[in-house]
């Protein structure tokens, strides 16, 4: 092997390739077949790396799996360590849920898109909220100016939520909600709509993103400091275990970590370490892991480096299983099995030659399917420009349907299992992730690591390194730094300011018609509960039912908890 030497700094702290012990046949191949070819024509690059900078060897063989034990490291689908998937029949039994993230404008606009997507064969809903909602501000707050309905749907009160799910039976549809800091409030609104529809809380299912740690690490949509934020998360855990056994109160998310520029190994490690941090906090609260475990779900990015992504999903399941058994002595197989949603990488989409994004997305989606995802969102071709048009969103959904019904990739479980390359890469990705997990353990956990800006700094480094590779054309993006051509602009979805006006009018009407006394009373009760240690879900639910607005509820909590400001790293 001649290409082991690295030309640029390796991605820390990834392991160098495992020691190899080639067979006599392989040695003979190297000498007699390979060497003469390399003498005549060198390879295209001196070294090959994944998009994350992880080194990839010329050929993988048995020599790359010296200590590999298929019994303990591969196993069978539906059995530990779940490398091959968490279900015995995987997508032969049931296809993944096709769950397209949607949300724009006011509640009635998104309601219409939801109903359209369901009519086109989508099997689950996924809600995108606008920035004011994500930050806990009502649509008519001064800081909301210019942002209402732009990046998602504007939801300021239960009245908006009722419109959002109008004529959508929550008893029959699973709903994912991408909301974090104000997750408890938005969830309370959803539960109130379910109750109003007569849907049984014990039967409704869906997922709340509710992953505040990755907000501090990557996406930065936080309101309160870490400790009270973690309390809110654990409050939703307790409430979910008791009241909504089929609802996932959290989706521990690597997606945003990756979008912020992390490597695949960082995405995996920080996400799983976040998951462990939530468990630590839940245990400290006195919760039982094997009651909670089955309701924890995960969310990964499907980036462009095909095999690295597949290795990442396989390693994720193996790490989680090991951690549940070895760290917590979990006895419940449903706690051991890591379930995850995947979204194709928004940051890989190009504004240039946007139709190429259909191809990127299809390949990324394929990696998620081959990696055993439970549900999937495929991005639309126009999302480097704006929220998707209905036309673009339909192609994205059709992409999944083509993978599911035309390619045959789901006819067998884990078709890549046993591939020298995939198994070796899975091992390497797993080892790299454990290194990070141990490092964060040694810092005292993820909250402590965040306070030291450790994951933030690692991601910023990786993101800068990748940008420099693009600038120097060491990595190519088609249509961006090579293969450039002229193109016509796309028709994109425009959100105008009438959404903000409609929202303001609805809020004025709400404030005039609701019982102000009930609102004041419920907010006072919430503040009082926040000052004590009790679970906040009942008080939040009561305030929501009294039609207190999202902004009012988040402000009441802000008065008790304070707000968070990060130390900016550049």
């Amino acid at each position: 092997m001649t290409d082991h030497k690295k030309t640029s700094a390796p991605t820390l702290p990834e392991k160098s390739p495992t020691r190899r012990s080639p067979s006599p046949e392989e040695k003979s191949w190297e000498q007699n077949t390979l060497a003469p070819v390399l003498d005549k024509s060198p390879e295209r690059q001196r070294e090959f790396t994944t998009i994350s900078g992880h080194p990839i060897r010329r050929l993988y063989s048995q020599a790359d799996l010296p200590d590999w034990d298929p019994k303990t490291q591969l196993g069978y689908p539906g059995e530990p360590p779940y490398t091959r998937g968490i279900h015995s029949t995987m997508h032969r039994g049931r296809l993944w849920t096709m769950r397209q993230f949607a949300g724009f404008g006011a509640a009635e606009d998104t309601n219409q898109r939801f109903r359209y997507l369901l009519s086109q064969g989508q099997t689950g809903l996924s809600t995108a909220f606008d920035l004011p909602t994500l930050m806990g501000y009502d649509s008519d707050h001064a800081l909301s100016e210019g942002e209402v309905g732009k990046c998602g749907v504007a939801i300021s009160s239960l009245a908006d939520m009722e419109v959002l799910f109008d004529q959508i039976p929550l008893a029959n549809v699973t709903t994912s909600m991408t909301i974090n800091s104000p997750a408890a409030v938005i969830w309370a609104m959803y539960l109130a709509v379910a109750e109003k529809q007569g849907a049984d809380w014990k039967k409704i299912s869906g997922t709340l993103q509710n992953d505040i740690l990755k907000e501090y690490i990557a996406q930065k949509e936080y309101i309160y400091p870490p400790e009270p934020s973690m309390r809110l998360v654990i409050d939703t855990f307790e409430f979910a275990v008791k009241e909504t056994p089929k609802f996932n109160p959290i989706s521990v998310s690597g997606y945003h970590i990756r979008e912020a520029g992390s490597t695949a190994i960082q995405e995996l490690a920080f996400t799983l370490r976040d998951g462990l941090e939530y468990i630590e906090y839940a245990l400290r609260r006195g919760m039982n892991l094997d009651e909670l475990g089955p309701q924890l779900s995960f969310f990964f990015n499907a980036h462009s480096d095909f095999f690295e992504e597949i290795a990442k999903y396989r390693a994720a399941r193996r790490i989680w299983h090991k951690a549940m058994i070895e760290r917590y002595g979990s006895k419940n197989p449903r706690t051991w099995a890591l379930r995850f949603h995947t979204q194709t990488a928004g940051c890989s989409l190009t504004a240039q030659q946007p139709y190429n994004n259909v191809v990127r997305t299809a390949l990324q989606a394929l990696s998620a399917v081959l990696g055993g995802t439970q549900s999937l969102h495929t991005n639309s071709l126009d999302e480097a420009w704006a929220l998707p048009t209905e036309f673009a969103a339909t192609i994205a959904l059709r992409t999944q349907q083509i993978i599911a019904h035309e390619t045959g990739v789901s006819n067998t479980v884990d078709p890549l299992g046993g591939s020298y390359f995939v198994e070796a890469l899975t091992n390497e990705v797993e080892a790299g992730a454990w290194d990070y997990i141990h490092k964060i353990d040694s810092m005292g956990g993820m909250v402590a690591a965040i306070e030291r800006s450790y994951p933030q700094r690692e991601i910023a480094e990786a993101s800068y390194r990748y940008q420099m590779e693009l600038d120097k054309k060491e990595k190519l993006m088609v249509g961006v730094n090579d293969f450039i051509s002229e193109e016509k602009p796309l028709d994109i979805l425009q959100i105008d300011e009438t959404v903000a006006h409609r929202q303001a009018a609805r809020l004025n009407k709400l404030r005039a018609e609701r019982s102000q006394e009930a609102v004041t009373r419920s907010l006072a009760a919430l503040r009082k509960a926040a000052q004590c240690k009790e679970n906040l879900m009942p008080a939040i639910y009561a305030a929501v039912k009294a039609y207190a607005t999202l902004g009012e509820i988040c402000e009441a909590l802000r008065q008790v908890f304070g707000s968070y400001e990060e130390v900016a790293i550049t």
């Binding site: 990046c151 949509e221 936080y222 912020a260 602009p489 400001e565 900016a568």
Partner: protein, 133 residues
């Protein structure tokens, strides 16, 4: 005589927290020898204008991905004018639909850098603009 380093304020206005681009640009400009101040997240146009005055910057780089550019940019330009900072070069980087670009330039934005721009292009633009100032 040593040359004065170009002073740049990188700002992230609005509620959006996606700061990957802002951080990359801040570092790339610093690596190119400029003096860079990063405001951190969630800056109102008032905060950005005040910081620009206080830091006496030559360039302001705004990172906007949220679609709020048509609201934020004109507000900032008005404030800068009021504070007598007419000569500062204001750049925008992020997701800006082509249809919005003429109005933003009309409002006084010197250049708009779309996704996929290399950091060298931005460095060169700033250097050229401030070569003789």
């Amino acid at each position: 005589m040593p040359q004065q380093r170009i002073r740049v304020l990188i700002a992230k206005p609005g509620l959006d927290g996606h700061d990957r681009g802002a951080k990359i640009i801040a570092r790339a400009l610093r690596d190119a020898g400029m003096e860079v101040i990063y405001t951190g997240l969630r800056q109102t146009p008032e905060m950005i204008a005040s910081a620009a005055v206080q830091e006496d910057v030559d360039v302001i780089g705004l990172s906007i991905l949220s679609g709020a550019h048509n609201t934020i940019c004109p507000q900032l330009m008005t404030l800068l004018k009021q504070k007598g900072m007419d000569d500062v070069t204001v750049l925008v980087g992020g997701i800006i639909p082509g249809a919005d670009i003429p109005a933003l330039k009309q409002a006084g934005i010197a250049e708009i850098f779309l996704p996929g721009t290399s950091t060298q292009d931005i460095v060169e633009f700033i250097n050229k603009k401030h070569a003789n100032s």
